[in-house]
Symmetry: C2
Subunit: 325 residues, 2 copies
């Protein structure tokens, strides 16, 4: 229904590699190049690897740029610069700072007549859409988000910062008991500590430090204090062999009552064997929407809340109505 | 963020009553009246009940009209007439005829400069959106829809048409074994008969006809033939006491693989104690979108695929980004 969407990737970490992979399954995209600040000869890929310094040479050759850097440093630096010249899509996931980030990018993209879709993925992203559905369909209801079982990079990093820790992986595990109570319509009022358990696999430099490290983990405010936390000390060999994958998932559960007595449960859940590869698949589908919004003459920053979901598909409205409605 | 949305309801069956109820929970709507072809004195409601004959007197007093009639006869007759004068929303659910229905309404609404959102609810509706997400995120994946446990009106009606049947209720029950296989990533290739079981509660005029009726049910093509079907014969008293509720639900399961070896499962599920009341809650949320589309100057027919989900909420984009993203 339209010519191929020409795209570029900025950043070649887990997410960038996932986007490259996902594009293979979506023949309406054409990958023009992957832009990196590393030495291009060090990159092992069959795609066209281009120095990030040359990115502006591609201003008129790329319809949508995938920004695949991290939310802490890369995106706040790169997105403002690139939104001056490209339509962009990113998965900025620093939830608390999303409003500021949105406003910053919105100002730039409105001036440059470009479209930037921010914070795409599953949370923020698909989970956000389901929280919105729950809240609008059940205006007096409850909505709960659970994450896991999966690796939390933030919590793993927090453990790694403890003195004497060589490496660590932290799994967030939702409380099945709490989930059952919610689905039974008990509307529990929950502290965040009741919703998840934390299981840590820690490689110490010296196993004699075990007790101190465990105590420091369990008393860490915001991250572990108050949570049901289990700490296992293992060798680095064991960690690499058994804890190198990036599974994740979670669920959004909305509950509500109509006519005082009828209970309803709406649930959206994900079980993912590789978090960045799934996130990349979501981002690629939403990139179609960016292209369509640009064709519609829109400009500025957008989020998943602003996207008609039909824009994610290469199919026509007529095909979607016939096949999926 | 905007003045109250003035709405009317056409048709006061289960869905119309559900919309009336849902509007109570959504203070940004104002119910102007419920239009009925029945004698208005026969209707038990605290709302303003108005004869359908007077509906055109309300052309400029109603922003969105909820069409709550049935898909077989009411909507194909009423929607074309009302779309000439009102923005409308309906839950037309005759899946096979949706393309024709859409085209008919689209032509009318484009001429009248009105907006009509068709086929809103959970299937078609929320399930359709999740089928679209599955198909676009997993372009080489699989997507399965299961219904139940719940009452199927179509199957109940089919049994009632059998000679000697006084009343009947049919429950559609998804096959848990099949669902487990799907979630385990086995990608089963399924006949529709493998996906659901059918359990029937039948009130015969004469219990001596049991064997013939059971045989007729089980051999009915399209509806029961080939399905795992169980038939229970009960008294009308039992049917009214134990099978008068309208529970339903179901799930859409999307599965896909990335990098050949990583499996992912995405699932959207509903468990509803009252099907029409939940459907009404969905329809009311989507009515906000109709109002917004009309304010945006749009015209013609639309489906859930065309709606940015942020339009379902009374909150501003800024509030949504801060609270839900």
């Amino acid at each position: 229904m339209y010519s191929k969407i020409r795209v570029g990737i900025v950043g070649y970490g887990n997410l960038g590699k996932g986007v490259e992979l996902a594009l293979n399954n979506n023949p309406d995209f054409e990958l023009i190049g992957i832009f990196t600040r590393r030495n291009i000869d060090d990159i092992d890929s069959n795609s066209n690897i281009i120095s990030f310094n040359k990115v502006l040479d591609y201003k008129d050759k790329i319809d949508v740029m995938f920004l695949c850097g991290g939310s802490a440093k890369d995106l706040p630096e790169q997105c403002p610069k690139l939104a001056e010249h490209f339509n962009t899509i990113d998965s900025y996931d620093n939830h608390k700072n999303i409003p500021n980030y949105f406003n910053m990018i919105d100002n730039i993209a409105k001036k440059s007549n470009k479209v930037s879709l921010i914070s795409v993925g599953w949370d923020p992203g698909l989970f956000s859409l389901n929280r919105l559905l729950a809240q609008t369909i059940f205006p007096n209801g409850q909505c709960y988000t659970f994450w896991g079982k999966g690796v939390s990079q933030g919590h793993s990093d927090a453990i790694r910062r403890i003195k004497g820790v060589k490496n660590a992986v932290q799994y967030t595990i939702p409380s099945e008991k709490t989930i059952e109570e919610i689905k039974a319509g008990k509307n529990p009022s929950l502290k965040k500590e009741d919703m998840h358990k934390r299981v840590c696999y820690v490689v110490p430099y010296d196993f004699e430090d075990k007790d101190r490290i465990e105590k420091e983990i369990k008393s860490m405010p915001n991250y572990f204090q108050g949570f049901d936390t289990t700490v296992h000390f293992i060798t680095e060999e064991d960690l690499i062999k058994n804890h190198s994958k990036m599974p994740h998932g979670g669920r959004v559960i909305g509950t509500g009552t109509t006519n005082k007595k009828h209970k309803h449960v709406m649930e959206f859940s994900l079980s993912l064997e590789d978090n960045p590869e799934f996130t990349a698949s979501v981002v690629v589908a939403f990139a179609r929407a960016i292209y369509r919004l640009a064709l519609d003459g829109k400009k500025g920053a957008f989020t998943v809340f602003d996207i008609p979901l039909g824009y994610l598909s290469p199919k026509t409205g007529e095909e979607l109505r016939k096949e999926l409605l």
